[in-house]
C-alpha cells in the first residue's frame, strides 16, 4: 500500500492508503475528520469540498495519493481555536444553513471564492457556488452569508 505524506490542518500526517483511496475517505475514515461530508458519488454536490494547497477541491474527485505532499485544510482547520473563521461566523450569524450537511463544503468553497475575488458580487457568489448543492435553504441566506463573510475577511 502506498504511503502518503501530507499536511492536514497544519499537522504533518502520514498514512498508508490503497492506490484507489479517495482523499475524502482518507480524511473521514483514517483521520477521523468527519466534518467533510459525502453527499453523492458523482462529484455533483460539493459537500466534500476542502482546500488543497489553497484551492477548493471536491475531495471525492482526488485520489489520496494525488494529494501527497500537499497542504490540506478541512472545515475543522478553518477556525483558530475557539474563534470561528469570519466565513463560519457569517454562516452562523446569517442563517446560511439549515440541515447543515452542505455547510462545510459551502464554507470551504466560499472562503476560496472570497480569496479569489477582491470585490465579490452576488453574481460571483452564485456562479462560484454552482457546484455546491443545497436542498434546504434556497441559497438566499447562503449568498448573504458569503457576501458578509467575504467582507469580514477583508477587514
Amino acid at each position: 500500500m502506498p504511503t502518503v505524506n501530507l499536511t492536514v490542518n497544519g499537522k504533518a500526517v502520514s498514512a498508508n492508503v490503497e492506490a484507489r483511496t479517495l482523499l475524502v475517505n482518507l480524511l473521514r475514515e483514517q483521520l477521523g475528520l468527519t466534518g467533510t461530508h459525502v453527499g453523492c458519488d458523482t462529484s455533483q454536490c460539493g459537500a466534500c469540498v476542502v482546500h488543497v494547497d489553497g484551492k477548493s477541491v471536491k475531495a471525492c474527485t482526488l485520489l489520496a495519493v494525488q494529494a501527497n505532499g500537499s497542504k490540506v485544510t478541512t472545515i475543522e482547520g478553518l477556525a483558530s481555536g475557539d474563534k470561528l473563521h469570519p466565513m463560519q461566523e457569517a454562516f452562523r450569524e446569517h442563517h446560511g444553513l439549515q440541515c447543515g450537511f452542505c455547510t462545510p463544503g459551502m464554507v470551504m468553497s466560499a472562503v476560496c471564492l472570497a480569496q479569489n475575488h477582491p470585490n465579490l458580487t452576488e453574481k460571483d457568489v452564485r456562479e462560484g457556488l454552482e457546484g455546491n448543492l443545497c436542498r434546504c435553504t434556497g441559497y438566499h441566506n447562503i449568498v448573504q452569508a458569503v457576501l458578509a463573510g467575504a467582507q469580514a475577511m477583508r477587514r
Binding site: 473521514r28 475528520l33 468527519t34 466534518g35 467533510t36 461530508h37 459525502v38 453527499g39 453523492c40 458519488d41 458523482t42 455533483q44 454536490c45 459537500a47 478541512t74 472545515i75 475543522e76 478553518l78 477556525a79 470561528l84 463560519q88 461566523e89 454562516f91 452562523r92 450569524e93 442563517h95 444553513l97 439549515q98 440541515c99 447543515g100 450537511f101 452542505c102 455547510t103 462545510p104 464554507v107 457568489v125 452564485r126 456562479e127 457556488l129 454552482e130 455546491n132 448543492l133 443545497c134 436542498r135 434546504c136 435553504t137 434556497g138 441559497y139 438566499h140 441566506n141 447562503i142 449568498v143
Partner: protein, 771 residues
C-alpha cells in the same frame, strides 16, 4: 371544536422576549464548524460494513439465488436472503397510532419470489470492509425471469392488467360529496374541464440514508440512524421478531428529510445484520442506493371540471384524482386523502364532488414528500383557476377573490377552521410585491403567475396524535428540554429551546435540548406533516409553564407579593414595581430544590381526537387547522430555446406567530427553490419501471444560479393552534410555488403546458403547437 377565529378581536397584548426574534439557532455553531456528528459519522470497534443487493428489473420472478460464493469470500461475516429470515414482513403504515386498524401494507423485507420494483432488495451482506462487501455482492449469482408488469396507473386499473399484489391494483379510494353537484353545474354559465399531470419527484436530501446498529448487553438492538421518525422502533422490532422495548432508535441531526426519511430506510437491514452477527454494523446508502431505495413523490393525474357563473362565482367542482402508488402501499392512502381534502383549494365550493383513487404499479413505490398530496392538488386547482378566469374573461385575482374561503366558512369536509383565513390578504400582498413588470425583449417574453393555497399542519385528527416533552431546571439556573422530536434541519430543537426560555425567563445560552432517542427522551411523534412545532412546541410550552408555575409560587411567597406580580426575565426573578424584591433565577431554583419542590415536568399535548371522515361523503373534521398564503412569480421565457428563468419570487404566508423568523424565512426560501425544481427541472424518469435518472447529474435540483432572491412576507394572525398562536410553515412554503410558476409560463407564452415539469423542450413544442 374551538370557536372560529374572530379577525376583529383585539390580539392579546403579548410581549415576547425570545419568541418571534431571529435568534441564532442552537444547532448553527456545530454545523458551521463541522463539529456536528451526523448519523454517518459514528463508528464502533469491530464494526462490519453492509451492502444491499438490489434487483435491476422492475417486475420479475426470482428463480435462482446462489450466495455460496459470496459467503465463502474471506472477510464476509454474513449474507442474508429471504430464506434465512423468519416469515416476517416490514410494515409500512404510519407509526404511533392507537386503536386504529392498520392498512394491509406490509412489504417483504427481501425478495422471496416476486420482484415488484426496480431496486427491490434481494440480499444483505455484512463484511469487514465496504470493499469486501462490494466484492461479495458481485459474487452472488441469481436468475430473474421477466414477469408481466404494469407501469402506469390508468393501465393498471383496466380489467386484465397484471396485478402487482393482492387481488387488484386499487390501493385506496376516497370520496368527498357536498351540496348538489348536478344543480351546481346546471346553474353554471360555463363549464371548464382540464387534466393536469405531475411527475415522480425525488427528495434529494444532501445526506444519503445511513445508520449504525449494535446489540448491547441487555440484548437491545440499538440503531443510530438518520431518520425523521424514531418511533419506527415498534415496527422494526416486529419485523425482526423482538419485543418493542428491545429496539432503541437514536437519531442525529438529520441532513435533510422532506418526507424521504419518514419511512423506514436502513433500520431493518441493520437490525437483522447486527442481531445475526452479534457485531456492530454500519450501512450507508450510495446516492444511487438512495435514489432507488426510498419512496418518491406520487405522480398524480388530476381532472378538474369547474362550473362557473359569468360573474366569477364557482357553482360546482368535480375532481378526479389518480395517483401512482408504485409497488408497495406505504403512505399512499394518506397522501391520496390529503389530495382529496385539498382538492378545491382555499375556496368555498358549495357543490363539490371528489373521486380519488390510488393505484399500484411496478414503478418505484411512492410515499411522503413535503406537501403530501396537497401540493399535487395545488398544482391543479391553481392552474384551473387561471384557466377558468381566462375562459370567462375575468381577471385571475378577481376570480379568486370571488371564491376565497373566508374565516369561519366550511372547508371541503365541512369543517370550520378555528383560525384566521387570510388567503386574500396574502395573495394581494404577494401580487403587489412583484412590483413593476420586467419589459419583454426580443425572443424573451415575460409572464406572471400566482397561486394561493390551503395546507393542513398536524396529522389527520382521526390518528389521535400526541406529543411529549419534558422541561426541567438545574440548580445553577440552566434549563434542560428533553423530547423525542427529530431535528431534520428546520431548527425543530432550537424552537423548543426558544419556547422554554420564553416561558422561564432565561437566556438562550442557558438551555440545552436533548432529543431524538426513543428509549430516553419522551416520545414526541414524528417530524412530519408540519407537526413538530405545533405538537411538540405545545408540549414544551405546557411543560415549561408547569415548572414556571411552581417557581413563581415559591418566589411570590419569598417576596410576599401575588404570583401575578412575579417577573421572570434575563435569568432573574423580580417583583413588579418592587426593585427591592429580586433574586437570580438560579437562587430561586436552589430554594425550590432544598425544599423538595419539583423542578421538572413531563407534558403530553393532544391534538383534537376525532372519528374518521364519513366514508361516503368525506364530511367531518380531518385536521386541527390549516395554513393559508400565496406565492407570486415572474418568469422570463426564451421563445427560441424554451428556457424558463424565474425572475421574481414573492411569498406571503400567515404563519400565525413566528417562533424564529429567520427559521421561517429559511423554510420559505427553501420551499421556493424546491417548488421551482418541481415546476421546471426535476423528474424521476421511469421507463417500463426502470429508473433512468439515478444520480444528481441526471436528476436536476436547482443550484444557486437557478433560483432568484426570494422575498418572504410573513404575516402573523396569532390565531393558529400551535404555541403562541403559531401555524405550521414547513410544507406550506413549497405548496403554491410550482403552480405559480406554471401560471407565469402560461401567461408569458399564451399556452399552457399541463404536465410538469415544464422543460425547455415542452415549451418549444407548445410554442410550435406540437402536442
Amino acid at each position: 371544536m374551538s370557536a372560529p377565529f374572530d379577525p376583529n378581536r383585539n390580539l392579546a397584548n403579548v410581549s415576547l422576549r425570545h419568541v418571534g426574534k431571529p435568534l441564532v439557532r442552537t444547532d448553527a455553531p456545530g454545523k458551521a464548524t463541522g463539529r456536528t456528528p451526523y448519523a454517518g459519522d459514528y463508528v464502533m470497534p469491530g464494526m462490519l460494513h453492509a451492502k444491499v443487493l438490489r434487483s435491476p428489473m422492475p417486475s420479475a420472478r426470482l428463480v435462482r439465488l446462489d450466495v455460496s460464493k459470496a459467503r465463502a469470500l474471506e472477510g464476509v461475516a454474513l449474507v442474508l436472503t429471504a430464506r434465512d429470515l423468519p416469515d416476517r414482513l416490514a410494515p409500512t403504515d404510519i407509526p404511533g397510532q392507537t386503536g386504529q386498524t392498520r392498512l394491509k401494507t406490509d412489504q417483504q423485507i427481501l425478495v422471496r419470489e416476486r420482484v415488484r420494483y426496480h431496486g427491490e432488495p434481494l440480499a444483505l451482506i455484512a463484511a469487514e470492509s465496504v470493499d469486501v462487501a462490494e466484492k461479495a455482492m458481485s459474487l452472488i449469482d441469481y436468475d430473474l425471469e421477466p414477469w408481466p408488469g404494469v407501469f402506469d396507473p390508468e393501465s393498471a386499473m383496466r380489467p386484465g392488467a397484471p396485478v402487482v399484489q393482492g387481488t387488484d391494483n386499487i390501493v385506496a379510494r376516497h370520496a368527498i360529496g357536498k351540496g348538489d353537484i348536478d344543480a351546481g353545474f346546471a346553474a353554471a354559465d360555463m363549464v371548464v374541464e382540464r387534466t393536469y399531470r405531475t411527475q415522480f419527484i425525488e427528495h434529494a436530501f444532501l445526506e444519503p440514508e445511513v445508520g449504525l446498529a449494535w446489540v448491547d448487553e441487555n440484548d437491545v438492538v440499538n440503531i443510530r440512524v438518520s431518520t425523521q421518525v424514531i418511533e419506527h422502533f415498534r415496527f422494526i422490532a416486529d419485523a425482526i421478531g423482538v419485543p418493542h422495548n428491545k429496539v432503541r432508535i437514536m437519531g442525529a441531526l438529520v441532513g435533510g428529510g422532506f418526507g424521504g426519511k419518514e419511512d423506514i430506510t436502513v433500520e431493518i437491514y441493520l437490525a437483522l445484520l447486527a442481531k445475526h452477527t452479534g457485531r456492530p454494523v454500519r450501512l450507508e446508502f450510495t446516492r444511487e442506493d438512495s435514489f432507488v431505495g426510498h419512496g418518491k413523490r406520487h405522480p398524480f393525474i388530476l381532472t378538474y371540471k369547474t362550473g362557473v357563473k359569468r360573474n366569477g362565482k364557482i357553482t360546482a367542482l368535480d375532481v378526479r384524482l389518480v395517483s401512482d402508488a408504485g409497488a408497495y402501499v406505504f403512505l399512499s392512502p394518506y397522501v391520496l386523502l390529503y389530495g382529496a381534502i385539498a382538492a378545491p383549494g382555499p375556496y368555498l365550493i358549495e357543490n363539490l364532488k371528489v373521486d380519488a383513487v390510488s393505484v399500484a404499479t411496478n414503478n418505484m413505490y411512492t410515499s411522503a414528500f413535503r406537501g403530501f398530496g396537497s401540493a399535487q392538488a395545488c398544482v391543479a386547482y391553481e392552474q384551473q383557476m387561471d384557466e377558468v378566469a381566462q375562459a370567462i374573461g375575468i381577471d385571475r385575482l378577481d376570480l379568486r377573490r370571488r371564491n376565497y374561503l373566508k374565516t369561519g366558512e366550511p372547508t371541503a369536509t365541512g369543517y370550520r377552521v378555528p383560525s384566521a383565513v387570510w388567503t386574500e390578504r396574502c395573495a394581494d400582498i404577494a401580487w403587489q410585491a412583484l412590483g413593476e413588470k420586467t419589459p419583454a425583449k426580443g425572443a424573451i417574453r415575460i409572464g406572471r403567475g400566482l397561486a394561493a393555497y390551503q395546507q393542513s399542519y398536524g396529522r389527520l385528527t382521526f390518528l389521535h396524535d400526541t406529543s411529549e416533552a419534558w422541561v426541567g431546571v438545574e440548580v445553577d439556573g440552566t434549563v434542560i428540554v428533553r423530547s423525542g422530536v427529530t431535528d431534520i434541519g428546520a431548527g425543530q430543537a432550537s424552537a423548543l429551546a426558544q419556547i422554554a426560555i420564553e416561558v422561564l425567563g432565561v437566556n438562550m445560552e442557558n438551555v440545552v435540548v436533548y432529543n431524538s432517542d426513543s428509549a430516553v427522551t419522551p416520545l414526541a411523534g414524528t417530524t412530519t406533516a408540519t407537526r413538530a412545532l405545533y405538537m411538540t412546541g405545545n408540549a414544551a410550552r405546557v411543560a415549561a409553564e408547569a415548572v414556571r408555575g411552581r417557581l413563581v409560587a415559591r418566589a411570590a411567597k419569598a417576596f410576599g407579593v401575588p404570583v401575578d406580580d412575579v417577573v421572570l426575565a434575563d435569568n432573574k426573578v423580580s417583583a413588579l414595581d418592587r426593585p427591592d424584591k429580586a433574586m437570580s433565577f438560579a437562587d430561586l431554583v436552589r430554594l425550590c430544590a432544598t425544599e423538595g419542590i419539583q423542578r421538572s415536568e413531563l407534558a403530553m399535548f393532544r391534538a383534537p381526537f376525532t372519528d374518521r371522515l364519513d366514508p361516503a361523503t368525506g364530511q367531518g373534521q380531518a385536521f386541527a387547522d390549516f395554513t393559508y398564503g400565496a406565492h407570486a412569480i415572474e418568469v422570463a421565457v426564451d421563445t427560441e430555446t424554451g428556457e424558463v428563468t424565474v425572475l421574481k419570487s414573492v411569498a406571503c404566508h400567515d404563519v400565525g406567530q413566528c417562533i424564529n423568523p429567520a427559521a421561517v424565512e429559511g423554510q420559505i426560501e427553501g420551499g421556493a427553490a424546491q417548488g421551482q425544481g418541481y415546476a421546471l427541472s426535476e423528474e424521476m424518469i421511469y421507463r417500463e419501471g426502470r429508473l433512468m435518472t439515478p444520480s444528481l447529474s441526471e436528476y436536476l435540483i436547482p443550484t444557486a444560479m437557478d433560483v432568484p432572491v426570494v422575498k418572504s412576507i410573513i404575516l402573523e394572525s396569532r390565531s393558529g393552534v400551535g404555541p403562541f398562536g403559531a401555524k405550521g410553515i414547513g410544507e406550506p412554503a413549497l405548496t403554491p410555488v410550482a403552480p405559480a410558476i406554471a401560471n407565469a409560463v402560461a401567461d408569458a407564452i399564451g399556452r399552457r403546458i399541463h404536465d410538469l415539469p415544464i422543460t425547455p423542450e415542452k415549451v418549444v413544442r407548445a410554442l410550435h403547437g406540437i402536442d
